[in-house]
């Protein structure tokens, strides 16, 4: 197996951050120590800064969603590792609006603790902070552990909806409550046919046979709880949709659907999957009123995809269609 194209030695994250910031210099600013990125533009109506972050290796998450209509600042950790609390603190200081900061955190222990420590430090400085926890991964739903569902593909949905909501001028508590509703209305499920390439060995992080799929896989190379014999693509989508629809909390029949590549899956495949998803959801009585197809929350170059469904309350549609201009997602007219 050929190794990835990375600089000869050292941490691959800093050069990638520099390259990203130079590629999108009109939209974002990079501060290298402690590493964080800040959007250059925000809607003047926005009163709360939106800050996210987490491990690297999930690009374009999170920095790709920096910009008017979405995130105000992000803190990128090392590959698959939480950012340090100081990165989150500095990002939040820069992003804080007149009503404070809202942290969008994927549900992992390290992220929760480091964002939490930063939040305590912000409170000591007099900055109001609330947190929205994204915990959409149906495969990790269990009554037996206290850790709860992982945060995965729904992150991009929550960040887009929150961005649209923030630009209506909502206050911190209203926005935090809405964000919790967005997350609670979302579920995801992921499958992989090949693990991501280890940056250290150049080999897949775990082995799968040609006829096997990892069902319920995470985005950090952790194995799923089960491997399955590979069904046809049609049967696979049908099975995923059955579980997702059963796992979604009750709500409106309109949904946002995300077909997300895990890094090594082509758009040719993802669009074909989306066609199956739309038909499958229609058969199950759900209407897809908005969709995203592409690679938004990958696990390095893992071959596979995730499906995310978010039940869409009628009042949320305007948040989804509100303009956004970011490196990885542009919605609507230029503001």
């Amino acid at each position: 197996m050929a190794p990835p194209f990375l600089p000869a030695d050292g941490d691959p994250v800093p050069p990638a951050l520099r390259g990203f910031a130079r590629a999108h210099a009109d939209l974002v600013e990079l501060v290298e120590k402690p590493a964080h990125l800040v959007a250059r533009d925000r809607d003047p109506a926005r009163r709360v800064g939106l800050v996210s972050g987490g491990g690297s290796g999930h690009e374009p998450l999170h920095a790709g969603f920096l910009g008017r209509g979405m995130l105000d600042a992000v803190a990128p950790g090392k590959v698959f590792a939480s950012p340090h609390n100081l990165q989150v603190l500095e990002a939040s200081r820069r992003a804080a609006g007149p009503e404070g900061v809202l942290h969008v955190v994927k549900n992992y222990t390290g992220d929760r603790i480091n964002f939490g420590i930063a939040a305590e430090r912000l409170r000591l400085e007099g900055v109001e902070v609330r947190r929205v926890l994204v915990d959409d991964d149906l495969a990790t739903e269990s009554d037996e552990t206290a850790t709860g569902r992982r945060g995965t593909g729904a992150t991009v949905v929550v960040e887009k909806l929150l961005g649209g909501a923030a630009d209506t001028g909502l206050g911190l508590d209203e926005l935090a409550a809405l964000g919790a509703e967005f997350a609670a209305a979302s579920r995801s499920l992921a499958v992989a046919s090949r693990a991501q390439t280890s940056l250290h060995t150049g080999e897949p992080s775990f082995a799968l046979d040609a006829g096997e799929l990892e069902y319920g896989v995470g985005i950090h190379g952790e194995r799923a709880q089960k491997s399955i014999d590979r069904p046809s693509t049609e049967a696979l989508v049908s099975r995923l949709l059955d579980e997702l629809v059963a796992g979604l909390p009750a709500g409106p029949s309109e949904v946002i659907a995300v077909v997300n590549g895990l890094g090594g899956t082509t758009l040719l495949e993802l669009y074909g999957l989306h066609d199956l998803v739309l038909d499958g959801l229609a058969q199950r009585g759900l209407t897809v009123s908005a969709a995203l197809v592409g690679t938004f929350v990958p696990a390095l170059d893992m071959t596979g995809f995730s499906l995310t469904l978010t039940r869409l309350q009628p009042s949320w549609s305007a948040y989804w269609t509100a303009p956004a201009v970011t490196p990885a997602l542009t919605v609507g007219a230029q503001p």
Partner: protein, 195 residues
């Protein structure tokens, strides 16, 4: 209170306890707690000696910004709350209580989960009625008791019952802090040293 003397006493105690804390953490965690506590205290003493900050202010800054692991920054929250309470004219116990609340908001650990909360929570309660000496005794008792607990939070939760039999190193670190404070503030009292 004499913050500077508490810092220096705490730092010397962390040097003495380094090997024992490392061994405890190797049983249940990744073995870096002794290094983190000693290294953070050395750096905090250096930062305090450079001037411009109180002793607990220096401790807070160093442990929040520079000390690794999860417990390092959590201790930094405690030190920062103590520094701010003392700056406001409040007591060490007031700051420790605010620090406990912050640590529990962030880490979500309760008493009985085999974390530093098991030493800090009883120490905070004991301080309110019995001051430094009672708090130090309660912290040591709480830390000792973690030897009988199974971890539900933190890295030790991955090893289950295998960590039982020896105390949680983070809880012992808290007991060392309260021992240092009691030794400085009540020099005539007999305060039993943790470890």
């Amino acid at each position: 209170m004499n913050q500077e003397a508490v810092l220096r006493t705490f730092a010397r105690a962390a040097e003495d306890a380094h090997a024992a804390l490392t061994e405890l953490d190797q049983r249940s965690g990744d073995g870096d707690f002794g290094d983190n506590l000693r290294g953070g205290l050395r750096e905090a003493v250096a930062r305090f000696d450079a001037g411009g900050t109180s002793a607990f202010g220096a401790l807070g800054e160093v442990f929040l910004d520079e000390v690794g692991g999860t417990s390092g920054p959590l201790l930094g929250l405690l030190f920062t709350e103590i520094a701010q309470a003392l700056d406001r004219g409040g007591s060490f116990g007031d700051g420790a209580r605010a620090g406990l609340a912050a640590i529990q908001r962030v880490g979500e650990a309760q008493v009985g989960d085999r974390t530093l909360v098991d030493a800090l929570s009883p120490a905070v309660d004991a301080f309110a009625t019995g001051g430094f000496v009672a708090a130090a005794a309660a912290a040591k008792k709480g830390a000792d008791h973690t030897a009988e607990l199974r971890a539900r939070m933190g890295r030790a939760s991955y090893v289950g019952d295998r960590a039982k039999g020896e105390p949680d190193p983070g809880a012992v670190g808290i007991a060392v802090l309260f021992w240092a404070a009691a030794t400085v503030e009540s020099p005539d009292a007999a305060v039993e040293k943790p470890l």
